[in-house]
């Protein structure tokens, strides 16, 4: 009696049926990689040091793919909670609350559907990055295991931020409050991380703060497998630490979400 299945299907139907929502979602990755890839590419100012700055990546696009993928996951996930407010305002929430479903499944359906919506974006972004001139290059190959690392990192980042913003949304009745919070934190989360720039390019204090941002962990883990292909044991340990940190954080936040929502979701 969880209700998670039918509620997630509902979210996905709403997505696929809304052409604006659906198409913009799919075009967005192309815009992002093309724009970010050239706008933030500061390696052109010091070509000699580019290998140092980019951690061994052959070009900036290859370097930021991990960051753009993570940021995209982050932005989509932050809006997962907005539907909760719509459901409360437009009425469906009343129906869900009087049905014999777990109350947490109402929120988890938003989280799960936002994670599913990110997946085609991931594919499109990678294809777009690969196709643009001087784009993504897998110099040392790319294995199934690497794909797994990439997908796991994005899924975990999505879980982390959609949980946080869903819990916030369950306590709000006004759409503008959640938009305000999203706008307040989205760019700081993106720029106070290693998503677009390496620590070498950052002021020291910024690089130190960014170390603790889960966005950095995901960006770095994906970057590591894209740049290096087959990883050494030391590199795997590092990736394991990043993914482990993300997993612990995601599990904790999902558990907290379940607890808070079962207790507190209101009409």
């Amino acid at each position: 009696m969880s209700g998670l299945g039918p509620l997630t299907v509902r979210e996905l139907k709403k997505w696929v049926r809304n052409p604006t929502f659906f198409v913009t979602n799919l075009i967005q990755p192309i815009f992002w990689i093309a724009l970010f890839g050239s706008a933030f590419d500061i390696t052109k100012f010091f070509p000699q040091a580019s290998s140092y700055v980019l951690g061994g990546a052959p070009n900036y696009i290859t370097y930021i793919v991990g960051g753009v993928l993570t940021t995209m996951g982050l932005f989509t996930a932050m809006f997962a909670g907005t539907q909760i407010i719509f459901d409360r305002r437009l009425g469906p929430m009343g129906r869900f609350l009087s049905s014999p479903i777990r109350r947490s499944s109402i929120v988890f359906s938003k989280i799960l559907s936002s994670v599913i919506r990110i997946m085609p974006q991931v594919v499109i972004l990678i294809v777009a990055a690969y196709l643009i001139p001087n784009g993504l290059k897998f110099v040392h190959g790319f294995t199934v295991l690497d794909v797994l690392v990439l997908v796991t990192a994005i899924v975990l980042v999505s879980f982390i931020f959609s949980s946080i913003f869903s819990v916030i949304a369950t306590r709000m009745t006004n759409m503008n409050s959640i938009f305000g919070i999203v706008n307040l934190v989205n760019l700081p989360l993106m720029f106070v991380s290693y998503a677009m720039f390496s620590p070498a390019m950052m002021a020291d204090w910024l690089a130190n703060v960014a170390k603790y941002n889960p966005v950095s962990w995901s960006a770095e883990a994906i970057r590591m497998v894209i740049i290096n292909g087959n990883l050494t044991t030391a590199q795997w340990t590092q990736v394991g630490q990043w993914l482990g940190g993300l997993a612990i954080l995601a599990a904790g936040l999902l558990a907290l979400t379940a607890y808070l929502v079962e207790k507190e979701i209101r009409d």
Binding site: M1, G3, R10, K13, P92, P100
Partner: protein, 332 residues
Amino acid sequence: MNGTIIETKNLTKIYNGKIKAVSDLNLEIKEGEIYGLAGPNGAGKTTTINMLITRISPSGGTATVGGFDIGKNSLEVRKLIGVVPQDFTADEDLTGRENMMMVSQFYNVPKIKAQENCRNLLKLVELEEAADRLVRTYSGGMRKRLELIIGLVHEPKILFLDEPTLGLDVQTRIQMWNYVKEIQKRLNVTIILTSHYLEEIDELAARVSIIDHGKVLITGSPADLKTSLKGDIITITLSDEKSAQLMKTVPGALEVKDMGQNTVKIKVVNADESLPNIINFISQHELSTVRLTVQKPTLDEVFLEYTGRSIREEDGGSDARKLAINMRRARQ
């Protein structure tokens, strides 16, 4: 058929520590009946329903629905009941049928059974043609009809109808009444109906509780409540003062009042039985009448009798409106 299916004991709900929406409410609803909760806006009808359907938890008292405690066994309660809330709950971006199928999955109704239930219910409220259109294209009346059957898709034993005809035109309202009667007859569900349209309760409910300020004032069948007022009123206007004076001596009246302008108001136990006597009296004394009206008490009069004011006045009353607005806010 006659077992008690819902029972509340001193059920109380206080919003924000100060707004007492429901206070020590006691109800006993029997299996298979249509039970009405009547009262003005802000009387506590919706709050009572929301507690019984486990959407909100009570501040005090207990209640059982279908034998299950609403606090300890809320999940079991929710499996048993169907709900048609006051507001629209269907998702506008899905079709009517998709909404119904989604809700049926909440109750684990097997797919084939659910499809069959949907077909039958859509037919019952004449929504077959619109079933596969997006709900956002529906008219207000169609959406109300859809809400009515979404609450029934899992064949509940108990159906809660909260103001099912609020905001509908008279024709559509009568149509809704017919659907509700049909549902009760065919599906043998217990229906709990709230309404501030007293004629709606009168038309549908076998028993009714009149609620005001969160308390039950009186419970009974609409017919009994009306009879308890002891009095149909017959108003007769005669052609002259002398006739009017004579008319006042008519035997068998509970009360006779001179209303002036040759008009006499006669209160009798039952107008159907007293009217022939009155007409005989008129012809015996060769009185000439100008106008004769018979007024049977409606639930409005019952409401007036027990609350001391009319439900219509209450609708416009600023205190009640403020209370209703505050309660609505508190619920959010």
